[in-house]
Amino acid sequence: MKMQILGAYSTKFGELWNVSPRTLAKEAMENALKASGLKATQIDALFVGNMLSGILGNQANLGSLLVEELGVQIPAFKIEGACASGGLALHNAINSLKAGQYKTVLVLGIEKMTDHSQDEITTALMAAGSDEERMAGATFPGVYALMAQAYMQKYKATEEDLAAVSVKNHYHGTLNSKAQFQFLVTVGDVMRSSKIADPLKLLDCSPISDGAAAVVITSGNVAKKVKKPIHIIASEVGTDTLSLHDRKSFTSLAAVIDASTKAYKKAGIKPSDIDVAEIHDCFSISEAIATEDLGFSKKGEGARDIAKGKRTLFKGDIICNPSGGLKSCGHPVGATGIKQIVEITEQLRGTAQKRQVKRARIGLTHNVGGSGAIAVIHILRS
């Protein structure tokens, strides 16, 4: 069954104190609809990816709330999978089309985080971890720091190698008007930034952000009117233990390997066929490990390949995070998975302007929840 993206839109990401979650969602949904050339009355259902509305905003029943903003009474669902909520919402939306239940649906990712203090956010995000991790006083930067320590020891990688991930993504962010941080950082800036959980420093970590993104997808024939429909050729999910310490490896995510292996097989392609990818770089170490798990780099070479420029716009082979990634574009957790789809859609349509990857034909999104307890991979083709 053909699965096409008709319209895609992302709001600006950042500290959006003057905007409510409702307004943010409305902006994303209305503009995705506009881009698709469809009206709200032509949408069969709404899928919402969100993690923290219940914990931070005391607001459950998000599907019904946001369908109000759409102005139609259609079936609506909130899908939660920690920081992979956006990708997971899209996966479920695709399944509903495959089942034949709906033909055209809207998928929204949204998160409003900056209304709350840093310690409240740190606590809330640990809801994606395990009881043992919370009782140990671990935080998400802490859990990823444990992976970074293990990675650096095993592969003799340096903190400077990891810093190169942030340097690249900030460079890409300067080319994206929707990015939260549109300024350059140097390896020295990263190294001098304050420590969060050793060896990770502030500039190794993605920020706390507000933002929303939406896509309209269809399995029907309404797509004729759209000039450059983008095809979703694979949508796969993998899971792993909730706790890092229960896993065999601390330097690789089994959920990512599982989901991407299935996705490459479904799409009938190999990793080297990917032209552009949006990677879940919640921390610098995450992108280094991801590029290895996805088969872009050899095991242990991910960070060094990034430092060599192999993932950088205008000079690399497989370009990673042209949007600036989570690090520079921002990480409103529920919105991230959909923003990745919006970015790849723009890249494949050739409308990414200053950050356009030349001759981009096949793109991948890599969306991870928790410390790798869930991973969602999508592969898109022009």
Partner: protein, 100 residues
Amino acid sequence: MVTSPVKLWRRQKNTSALIGKKGKILQWTLIRVPAKSFMDQAPYPVIIVKMQNGEHTIGQLVDWQEKDLVIGKEVVSVLRRLRTEEKEDVIYYNIKFKPL
């Protein structure tokens, strides 16, 4: 948010059996920006421990010095007050680790 006393009571039934167990540090980090209830303990190390029976667990290291933060360092589980509670919370004791 106040933690349910019932939840704590259910968990604590197994805690005493976990005291005095030895293991080695498999990986460590130093948490400098903690969650709210651990605020007054920062900075503190969080370690993954390989216990003598081969199982892995995660815990906080207490009574530590910088020289203890090495892979392979021997540690033992001890009972400690876990965190700073909110006013209406039950005071919670749990397993932590100290260097040997």
